[in-house]
């Protein structure tokens, strides 16, 4: 009996395959037929830099993950800025950083609640597009912060520092700590995280410089922005590569977990750790000698700028086109190519300055 079942299954497979091949022969829609819909969102209406800043707006913050300390700080920055501007802040978001469909439904919910603007940190460059475009057709302004979508799916992107600066400076920071010699590894977040992958790209490019000829990147590990997984990945890295001299972890969750592991192991101080972390998370490890220096932008400033940009968009002062300017607090911001607004160079934290920061 099972021989006949198998035979029938094989026949069905063959039939379906030939059908598929026949369809190919007839042509069809391929990648080449589809035009890329990047390019900044076609901005309806004209910007009026002198327009009054509207009050009483509602701006919805949608981080990659709620209750992630980094996003909490960043969104608090947004909340403060909105209070100053006389508008209302609200935050919604999924509890997992890889729940893409959850993020989509939150965009839909915000659209439904008719907020004036959405500030979102995208888990995935494409997945939010349909929902965000729908939001924009409903008159909602969309700002991405920290992690971008395709440029066509939002009005502006607040970049936390140029990706190039971050990637390169982290390599420079670590190379200096290990004396430009030895094996290094990267402990990243999710394998799909847009920003992480861009930074790692620049790290690899920076490493091509001849001055790093004795520095070798042996592995990129992924801790999925989960403390336990990042901790285990760090353990794994050191087991696999006993000669490892340094780790770069460009994620606040990852660097903390790695520091936690190192500080309790025989590798403390021998294996250097740097990357992106928050001063409050890392203070203890800087003090006990596990970590020499790490860097970050100020996430509160990132949220602040996202909020101010959202309000400027909703007030009609800007539309997201390159070259437009608007006042954000005491400084004037200029919109760059593809609607990108840069926050500025990252800050390096070490034993000398870390106590001056509280976030």
């Amino acid at each position: 009996m099972h021989a006949s079942t198998l035979r029938r299954a094989c026949a069905a497979l063959a039939a379906a395959t030939s059908l598929a091949l026949a369809l190919t022969a007839c042509g069809g829609t391929t990648k080449n037929d589809v035009k890329d819909d990047s390019g900044a969102a076609s901005s309806a209406g004209k910007a009026d830099p002198d327009a009054a800043t509207k009050k009483g707006l509602t701006v919805g913050f949608l981080p990659k993950q709620v209750n992630n300390p980094y996003f909490t700080t960043s969104d608090k920055g947004g909340e403060k800025a909105l209070a100053e501007l006389g508008s209302t802040y609200k935050e919604v978001g999924p509890s997992s950083a890889t729940d893409t469909s959850g993020q989509v439904s939150y965009v839909n919910t915000l659209t439904q609640q008719q907020v004036d603007a959405i500030a979102v940190s995208a888990q995935d460059p494409g997945a939010l597009c349909t929902a965000l475009k729908q939001a924009m057709t409903n008159g909602i302004k969309v700002v991405t912060y920290d992690s971008d979508t395709n440029p066509g799916c939002r009005n502006a992107f607040i970049s936390q520092a140029s990706a190039e600066d971050l990637g390169r400076t982290e390599v420079q920071l670590l190379a200096e700590q290990i004396g430009y010699k030895g094996e290094i590894a990267v402990l990243s977040a999710a394998q799909t995280a847009t920003n992480q992958n861009t930074w790692i790209g620049y790290m690899k490019d920076e490493l091509k410089d001849p001055k790093y000829r004795n520095v070798k990147l042996v592995k990129v590990a992924y801790g999925n922005d989960d403390a336990q997984q990042s901790f285990q990945q760090t353990q794994g890295l050191l087991q696999e590569h006993p000669d490892l001299k340094g780790i770069i972890s460009p994620t606040t969750v990852g660097i903390k977990a790695a520091a936690q592991y190192l500080s309790g192991s025989k590798y403390k101080g021998r294996v250097k750790l740097t990357g992106l972390g928050t001063p409050n998370d890392m203070r203890k490890y800087v003090r006990n000698g596990t970590v020499d220096a790490f860097e970050l932008w100020d996430p509160a400033k990132l949220g602040d700028l996202a909020a101010r940009t959202a309000v400027a968009l909703a007030s009609g002062q800007i539309t997201g086109k390159e070259g437009e300017t608007f006042k954000a607090g005491s400084t004037t911001c200029t919109i760059g190519k593809d609607g990108v607004i840069n926050l500025g160079k990252p800050t390096v934290f070490d034993a000398k300055n870390i106590d001056r920061f509280d976030f």
């Binding site: 079942t5 391929t30 080449n32 890889t98 893409t100 959850g102 995935d124 799909t192």
Partner: protein, 324 residues
């Protein structure tokens, strides 16, 4: 009269009634719920769960389960993205993905029926394996540039109505599933298998073959869901639909399908799916935090396993009371 009372406390009727109550409540009291756009969001986000719930109901009725469905969906999305990047036509890719789902389902089915392994264990294994293959196939890529007409089909609405375009094909599949389970000898024999496999075998039902067919169809539907998911969210990634199997199982159990097999209706399962979907939508509109939503879903799950048993006890007591 007692007989209609007995019917009234059947769990699937209870779930259907709960769904109607929730909808009435939301239309009246929840701002933004009743308009066409929100209803289309609700249905669109629930469709992937509903699609897999159809074959899953049949499987659970027959006393088996497939936990690898979300991974099969993810794998199908990953293969879709990879082949699209390789320049293959989407009209070819979709049948290939569906075929792949058939193979995944067949593997599950053969492991369960030929080797006599418990489906819970087998499909936990293939859950990991299929997801791993998906990651190997597509790596960390997110493929988003699928043709607009396909994206429109998966995410768009019928005109300005509240129905997503993809709802009509789902209705067709739903009708087929209802007919198969409740109006064919095959469907009846699934209840028999679920109620007592040995007895079914002695009654001349080809138990192993029926199960193999079910697993294969489940694989096919899972891969169809994977394709739909990738187009609906315009994103083919290896981790698409992660955790979807739990939503499906939760909804099916909530719909009154007995986890031990042999009992349940598709009407109940579909009511369960949309009850969970509507509840999530309403909680989001009411600004209930993601964490609290998870708690509510979990509590509902426990109730849903408990509920049908209590309902049955009540029904039995009533029946005994009316005769005695």
């Amino acid at each position: 009269m007692p007989e209609s009372l007995t019917r009234a406390v059947r769990w699937d009727t209870v779930v259907g009634a709960l769904l109607i109550v929730l909808l009435l409540f939301s239309f009246t009291f929840v701002a933004g719920f009743g308009n066409a756009l929100n209803l289309s969001f609700l249905i669109g986000n629930t469709l992937p769960i509903a699609l897999i719930a159809l074959p899953m109901t049949l499987l659970v009725v027959a006393g088996e389960i497939d936990l690898s469905v979300a991974s099969t969906a993810g794998l199908s999305g990953a293969v879709m993205g990879r082949l699209w990047n390789e320049g293959m036509a989407i009209e070819t890719i979709i049948p290939v993905c569906l075929l792949l789902g058939v193979v995944c389902g067949l593997v599950n089915g053969l492991l369960v029926t030929r080797l006599g392994l418990p489906s819970l264990a087998v499909t936990i294994g293939t859950l990991a394996a299929y997801r791993g293959i998906a990651q190997i196939v597509l790596g960390s890529d997110a493929v988003t540039d699928f043709p607009a007409q396909y994206l429109q089909f998966a995410a768009g609405r019928l005109g300005d109505s509240f129905l997503p375009q993809a709802f009509l094909p789902f209705l067709v599949l739903l009708v087929i599933a209802v007919l198969v389970l409740h109006a064919t000898p095959f469907g009846r024999s699934l209840f028999a298998i679920g109620a007592g496999e040995e007895a079914a075998r002695f009654a001349g039902i080809r138990v192993r073959r029926h199960k193999l067919v079910l697993f294969t169809v489940t694989g096919l539907m899972a891969s169809l869901t994977g394709v739909f998911w990738a187009l609906h969210y315009a994103s083919a990634r290896y981790d698409n639909a992660t955790g979807l199997e739990l939503s499906v199982v939760a909804a099916v159990l909530l719909g009154g399908i007995d986890f031990d097999g042999g009992r349940g209706t598709l009407g109940g399962a579909v009511a369960g799916v949309f009850l969970l979907g509507a509840l999530q939508n309403v909680m989001s509109l009411l600004n209930v935090s993601a964490q609290s939503q998870i708690v509510v879903t979990g509590v509902l799950l426990v109730i849903s396993v408990l509920g049908p048993r209590v309902a049955r006890q009540i029904a039995l007591a009533r029946a005994a009371g009316s005769t005695g």
